[in-house]
């Protein structure tokens, strides 16, 4: 089991969607990068992603890795946020048959998994349908 440091250092990204961007290339990086892969600019500016987007592809995981075994089956998709940034995340609070490419979703704060019975609880973002 890893020490909590590994979880802890990703908190700004997982809790608050903190990213950074290259103002020269108008690219946003999530997770944040130390340099822009396009222009090698190292002066990247902090930014925060939007919390709404749409599903661009998805799957239903039925054979999960060990720490997710209590949760399967669950849906994982690639979400394109309104600011154009794409990220991978679970799609919850939705019947599998209702998930469609193009479906609008918004972020919710959820527990991703637990490190065994006695380890830390691992939180972060998931996505839920965002109707209307």
């Amino acid at each position: 089991m890893s020490t909590p440091s590994r979880y802890w250092r990703e908190i700004p990204q997982r809790y608050r969607l903190e990213a950074n961007k290259c103002n020269r290339c108008e690219l946003t990086f999530f997770p944040p990068r130390l340099l822009c892969p396009e222009c090698k600019n190292r002066k990247l500016e902090k930014s925060k992603l939007t919390e709404k987007g749409k599903v661009i592809t998805y799957t239903i995981i039925r054979v999960p890795p060990a720490q997710f075994s209590d949760q399967a089956p669950y849906a994982v998709g690639i979400i394109e946020l309104e600011d154009g940034v794409r990220l991978t995340g679970q799609i919850v609070d939705c019947a599998f048959e209702d998930i469609k490419i193009g479906m609008k979703v918004k972020l919710e704060f959820r527990k991703l998994f637990e490190e065994g019975h006695a380890g830390i609880l691992c939180y972060g973002y998931k996505f839920v349908p965002h109707g209307e």
Binding site: I11, Y15, R16, D70, Q71, V92, D93, E108, F109, R110, K111, L112, H117, L121, Y123, K126, G131
Partner: protein
């Protein structure tokens, strides 16, 4: 002038009906429904707990308060189901909101009263001028032992309130607290489910403290039940808040907007705070609102709020409590419910 500047609710979408639980335990659903005045209750998904629901309710409160989360000076979470035995829920919530590092946080626990406790402290710190903005959250994923009467009502939900001095949606008129040592309901360390004193939870516990707090705050402010437009009592079941309202001289119409329990269940620390959120959702400027919580062990906190003109501007900036309660529901069978609530013994 101090008061609520933003409020937000969160209710998980899963529900289970009384009939579904009664079917498993061979009890008579119609008589339970009549006796408890309860039809169904909310159930958290396995990925939801006090922390996640507190974050969502708080985000909704922030949408209405429209303040920089970094300016929040205190984040207090009241719950009897904090996910960690040792390690605060409040740090996670504050971090998710962006309120760290310059903030005070504490986890409160006082059975079903922990939510209003957190509000009480946050509000009074604002009043004292110690902090600019303070947030109090009541949230629970309540535990009821399988087959126990509590299983029909123990539900999940959260409500968050941000207190401040400007752009107030409900001005605080007064606060009041009333408590004695009364062991009507408890959960010992390392126990998964709470125990309770059966009918002892009624007259010497709930009714004594709720009426004590309600009468105390009304007396201190020289007010009578008819001076209030709305009143919210803690809702362990449908019957208790209606009966205590009647005992105090309140009419059903004053209680009903915040009476969510028949479709929501008892969200413990979230119960009266969610009732207050639902009431603010429909209140008009100038309305007077009384809220009286109850926590076993036992005690009640009471607050009198006066709704301001600003309510109309913020109301629709976040989901309305009744919409969270009535829309997008997902009904569970007992087996799924038992899985979600980890009532099934699995291999390690």
């Amino acid at each position: 002038m101090e008061g609520i500047i933003g409020y937000g609710a969160y209710i998980p979408r899963n529900r289970i009906k009384v009939e579904e639980i009664a079917k498993v335990w061979g009890t008579d659903a119609p008589s339970y429904k009549r006796g408890l005045m309860l039809e169904e209750k909310s159930v958290p998904s396995p990925d939801q707990d006090t922390i996640t629901m507190s974050v969502e309710a708080s985000k909704n409160a922030l949408k209405r308060a429209k303040i920089d989360p970094a300016d929040i000076g205190a984040v207090y979470i009241g719950s009897e189901s904090h996910p960690y035995a040792v390690k605060p829920s409040g740090t996670v919530v504050a971090e998710a909101l962006g309120a760290t590092p310059e903030a005070h946080t504490a986890d409160f626990e006082f059975a079903c009263k922990a939510g209003t406790e957190s509000m009480f402290v946050a509000l009074n710190l604002v009043k004292a001028g110690v902090i600019k903005f303070g947030m109090g959250v009541g949230a629970d994923t309540s535990q009821g032992a399988p087959g126990d009467a509590l299983e029909y009502s123990a539900a999940a939900g959260a409500a968050a309130f941000i207190f401040g001095r400007d752009k107030i949606v409900a001005k605080i008129v007064d606060t009041y607290a009333y408590m004695t040592d009364t062991p009507d309901f408890w959960r010992r360390e390392y126990q998964y489910y709470p125990q309770h004193g059966g009918r002892f939870t009624g007259e010497p516990a709930y009714f004594k403290h709720v009426t004590g707090a309600a009468r105390g705050i009304m007396q201190n402010n020289d007010m009578k039940p008819e001076d209030f437009d709305y009143v919210i009592f803690h809702q362990p079941n449908g019957k208790f808040p209606l009966r205590v309202g009647k005992m105090l001289g309140f009419k059903k119409e004053q209680i009903e907007p915040g009476w969510l329990v028949n479709k929501l269940g008892n969200t413990y620390s979230g119960s009266s705070p969610l009732g207050l959120a639902a009431t603010l959702d429909i209140a008009k400027p100038g309305d007077m609102v009384l809220i009286v919580s109850y926590g076993s062990g036992a005690g009640s906190d009471a607050f009198i709020f006066k709704v301001t003109d600003h309510i109309e501007e913020v109301r629709n900036l976040a989901p309305l409590t009744r919409d969270l309660l009535d829309k997008n529901k997902n009904y569970l069978e007992y087996g799924e419910y038992a899985k979600f609530r980890r009532k099934i013994r699995k291999a390690d």
